[in-house]
């Protein structure tokens, strides 16, 4: 029987890794950390999970270990955050083109300087182009569900790509809330054991990750890009199967109160829940507002996003959780501007906002302010392409 428990989201994620029967877990718990790998080390030590737990000397080594273990045909897991994720960066670019389905949970946090342990999306946006599939969870249940889905998709022979599930640091990772943990039997049926088409085996030697001379480098990169784009089909298929088995449906772009909406917020991650509460309050006052939530960040679901924008939508207010320093706007805004530029017919106006940096709370009032500003800018053009909300000037 699946069970509903009150548990810290990090612990629930670790329990989901156990349900997924990860075989190699490698981690270096640098500050800032979550309880994810800490709990997994207990689970392995207690004999509840038959896995190799490899404590290493750095995050760089943790990702290297997962890469090697995955190449040898093991189901792998690691988790990181912030500076630790940055330290992994060099290795993060390897599993994609090598087609190794390493799965990782990133508890999203800010990067120094100034030193911060709090939530925003700076850490993962630095790793935007690593060529992994990336999803974002809005609550603890989704963190568990999306992790199981990650294994289902990453190891699918048609995909064979690494996968990151993003959960907001602190605002998800350290919160106790009700979570339904599925049955082992159902999870086993949803994600059968990992069967790689090729693996490191002394009896059948292969070369993995060799030098790409100029004659093949471009083709290797394009092959990776094609595989990542093509994975969208399996990602959606994996969610359909998940809904059939566990009763919770996920989509690349989630909508909320979009009927007749004119001004629409666009969010990613756990601020989406507060945004829904804000939309309810504004709807009660008669404002025609709606919400689009990006669940699948890579590969970016452009057609799905365009389709989700109804005919009534006049203005999009996009919320980024990081500043892309020196750029024209934040990474999510930039993505949407570029796909809407090609939108047939009249695309809505789009305004970029940055909120919730380094743990600054994003509240119902933050969303009200953003909607008000977007409505104002729809009439009177703003001077900048984006605006940081709530900057104190004294």
């Amino acid at each position: 029987m699946s069970k509903r428990v009150g548990v810290e989201v990090s612990i629930a994620v670790a329990d989901a890794v156990k349900l997924a029967r990860a075989e190699v877990i490698s981690a270096y718990p640098i500050t800032p950390q979550t309880h994810i790998v800490e709990h997994l080390s207990d689970v392995v030590a207690n004999g509840e999970l038959d896995a190799e737990y490899v404590p290493v000397e750095s995050e760089h080594a943790a990702m290297s270990c997962c890469l090697g273990a995955s190449a040898a045909g093991a189901r792998t897991f690691t988790s990181s955050s912030s500076q630790g994720l940055s330290l992994m960066s060099e290795i993060l670019y390897h599993p994609g083109p090598m087609r190794l389905p390493v799965v990782m949970v990133v508890a999203n946090r800010a990067l120094a300087a100034p030193i911060s342990i709090w939530n925003d999306h700076n850490d993962i946006m630095v790793q935007r182009d690593i060529g992994w599939i990336q999803t974002f969870a809005e609550n603890g249940q989704e963190a568990v569900d999306l992790l199981l889905h990650a294994y289902r998709v990453a190891e699918d022979p048609k995909v064979s790509l690494p996968f990151i599930v993003n959960i907001d640091g602190f605002t998800l990772s350290h919160v106790i809330e009700p979570i339904i943990l599925p049955d082992q039997e159902d999870v086993d049926a949803y994600i059968p054991s990992f069967k790689p088409h090729v693996k490191l085996d002394p009896k059948k030697p292969v070369t993995m990750g060799p030098v790409g001379i100029p004659e093949v480098y471009t083709e290797a990169k394009v092959a990776h890009e094609m595989a990542l784009r093509a994975s969208k089909k399996v990602i959606i298929q994996g969610w359909k199967e998940f809904a059939g088995k566990f009763g919770r449906q996920y989509n690349p772009i989630e909508t909320y109160r979009m009927d007749d909406a004119e001004t629409v917020l666009v969010t990613m991650g756990s601020i989406s829940e507060t945004a829904m509460t804000a939309i309810d309050a504004m709807r009660d006052e008669g404002q025609k507002v709606g919400l689009l939530r990006i669940r699948l960040w890579r590969p970016f679901p452009g057609p799905e996003f365009r389709k989700a924008i109804g005919k009534t939508v006049k203005t999009l207010a996009v919320i980024d959780r990081t500043i892309s320093t020196g750029a024209s706007c934040g990474p999510v805004s930039a993505e949407l501007r570029s796909i809407l530029y090609k939108m047939p017919g009249r695309a809505p106006k789009i305004f970029g906002f940055v909120a919730g940096l380094g743990g600054r709370d994003v509240t119902v009032d933050t969303f009200r302010e953003i909607v008000d500003k977007a409505n104002l800018y729809a009439k009177k053009r703003p001077t900048d392409l984006y605006e940081v909300i709530g900057v104190r000037e004294k």
Partner: protein, 182 residues
């Protein structure tokens, strides 16, 4: 939905208290959240933790700004921190103190609804330690009924195992000794 803010000092177990209440509420079939005031925790420094309990799904990740209930684990805090900050008009402060109601009103300017208990004394006598978090849960239950006694007892059993009996004794005694003033 009821929103609770706990004030304590690092090491007194405010975060544990918040976790116990949320997990008990969830066990009762309700929806709940518990989370600490995120930051580098330091033993002895003033800390806060938050709880939401609701019959419906909770769809907010804001901090708690307008609590219905404030629980103060450390008797020295009301003189340092404005514990009633942002509180709803009909809210209640559940305070660990040895002071009388008149002194509490005069010293701390707490003019609304308050519930008082000398939790430090109870904790010292029952647990042998001045750690007041589980004792103050008794006061919270008496003052607000936010969760049931059985659900909290079960949560204490899950959390403390063999040590839970003493903690349950402490919270039961606090339930008896807590006095509510309107």
């Amino acid at each position: 939905m009821k929103e609770v803010r706990l004030h304590g000092r690092g090491g007194q177990g405010a975060v544990t208290s918040s976790e116990l209440v949320a997990s008990a509420a969830i066990e009762e079939g309700k929806f709940a959240q518990a989370f600490p005031s995120f930051g580098p925790e330091r033993r002895g420094a003033p800390v806060a933790a938050f709880i939401r309990v609701s019959d419906a799904q909770i769809r907010t990740r804001e901090k708690v700004y307008a609590p219905d209930i404030v629980v103060v684990l450390d008797p020295s805090l009301p003189g340092l921190v404005k514990v009633s900050q942002g509180m709803k008009e009909d809210g209640i402060v559940v305070l660990n103190t040895a002071f009388s109601i008149d002194e509490v009103r005069k010293r701390f300017g707490l003019n609304g609804k308050v519930a008082l208990v000398d939790a430090t004394k109870i904790a010292k006598e029952v647990l042998g330690l001045p750690i007041t978090n589980t004792t103050m849960l008794g006061a919270l239950l008496k003052a607000t009924g936010i969760i049931g006694v059985d659900a909290l007892s079960a949560a204490l059993d899950r959390r403390f195992g063999k040590l839970s009996e003493k903690n349950k004794a402490a919270f039961r005694r606090a339930m008896e000794e807590t006095v509510i003033y309107n």
